[in-house]
Symmetry: C2
Subunit: 254 residues, 2 copies
């Protein structure tokens, strides 16, 4: 980050009635979004940022507070403020909502079952806000928890957001798939919207999960969003809930 005043420009005190700290927040978001502060990197110190924006330290902190609440920034006392990384931890606590019925929670072991370049179908196109028939990647994963096949994921990505994605790069990623989006394609998933329902397992899911076809399974339809609520991933998860539950964690201040 070379040019402070270009990345964090001084802010006029009257920006359309919006409170100053919101203007600062938007400005910070733009900087993060644009890649000026790569994920995992520390931002300039609060004092520096406040000076650069031309606002008080309290106002700057107010803006950062909200971004921290949204898991976009992470503060570490004595170290600095960082753009949140999609490490395994963040994945687990923010985006992965299946755990064993006794409460045991762990990272899934992922098996890539299929990978293909396809023309996108209606349902997926609607979720990703592209036109039906547009090029897309579609993959099927089988997720094992505590050694048992529990989840079948079908993931759809618009091809234009993930140029150069190959089965090999998927297989060889060292961490979570959201970490791959972030580091390889500059796409940070900030939020996911999920809807759940119970359905009878179709043949594919039943086979992958070792269930009889027609068994009741939990179906999750997730749209993952990046900055500005822009959809970047659509995922249908089929969960064998005989020994596992779907749990939305509440992350509240204690």
């Amino acid at each position: 980050m070379h040019d402070l005043s270009a990345t964090f420009p001084s802010i006029a005190h009257d920006s359309g009635g919006l409170p100053l700290y919101r203007v600062v927040k938007r400005s910070l978001l733009r900087a993060i979004e644009s890649g000026a502060c790569p994920a995992g990197e520390a931002l300039p110190s609060e004092a520096t940022l406040a000076a650069s924006f031309g606002v008080s330290i309290g106002t700057l902190r107010h803006a950062v507070d909200e971004l921290v609440a949204e898991h976009i920034l992470v503060r570490r006392q004595g170290l600095g403020t960082f753009v949140a990384l999609h490490t395994e931890d963040r994945f687990l606590f923010q985006f992965f909502h299946v755990e064993r019925s006794d409460g045991l929670r762990g990272a899934p072991q992922v098996e890539l079952v299929s990978f293909a370049r396809v023309r996108i179908e209606e349902e997926e196109a609607l979720a990703l806000q592209v036109r039906p028939g547009d090029p897309a990647f579609q993959m099927d994963n089988r997720l094992l928890l505590q050694g048992r096949a529990v989840i079948h994921d079908r993931i759809t990505l618009a091809a234009n957001n993930f140029k150069g994605l190959t089965e090999r790069r998927l297989r060889e990623r060292p961490s979570t798939i959201y970490h791959l989006y972030q580091t390889e394609f500059g796409i940070t998933v900030t939020q996911a919207r999920e809807r759940a329902r119970a359905v009878a397992a179709d043949r594919t899911s039943a086979r992958l999960l070792g269930l009889p076809a027609g068994a009741p399974v939990l179906q999750l339809r997730r749209t993952a969003l990046t900055f500005g609520d822009r959809p970047v991933e659509y995922r249908v998860s089929t969960v064998n809930t005989t020994q596992h539950d779907y749990v939305q964690l509440l992350s509240r201040p204690v």
Copy 2:
């Protein structure tokens, strides 16, 4: 609220390493919990509270900020700060997570199907932290959304928390059941933990929801908690998800 300094006593600046604003927060919680500030009532103004606690207004606001984030207090500019009420709105956005697949959201129409005083079973006793066999109330509700029977709720309450509860009082409540807990029994539900899974509908649920027995339905097991994470309600919801979804709303700052 007569005696300010008794309800909001001056706080020592060193309380076991805990930050001052957390001590203030705990003190506020105790006051709310004890009923010194009845639900729906305005608290004393921030300036008054800060003076009573002997802390700065910024510190007091920090404490209130957290309670607002937890939906325990509600601020209204120009009016005051209020203990959150279990109105229909709050119920809908915080505790009711089923909506039609097209996103239409509305308050359910509730039909009380059965009400009984029972000895509590193992599963319910565990959730409510009482002994199996202790006296309890158990009721079955059928919930209609947009005119269709969508949810079957079986609710269990420890009898000692709801002394004097009768079928009549349940039927004649004017608002949500959580509002009844709050106004009639002084129990404010602050939080709920839910686990979802897909199961085959049992006979009772199938009948109430107009489904064939064995149809895949969503089963929610919810423990509702009051202050201090004390469990007060256990509920098993069975949801017909053919036209409705389970959705956990995310309430984030924009």
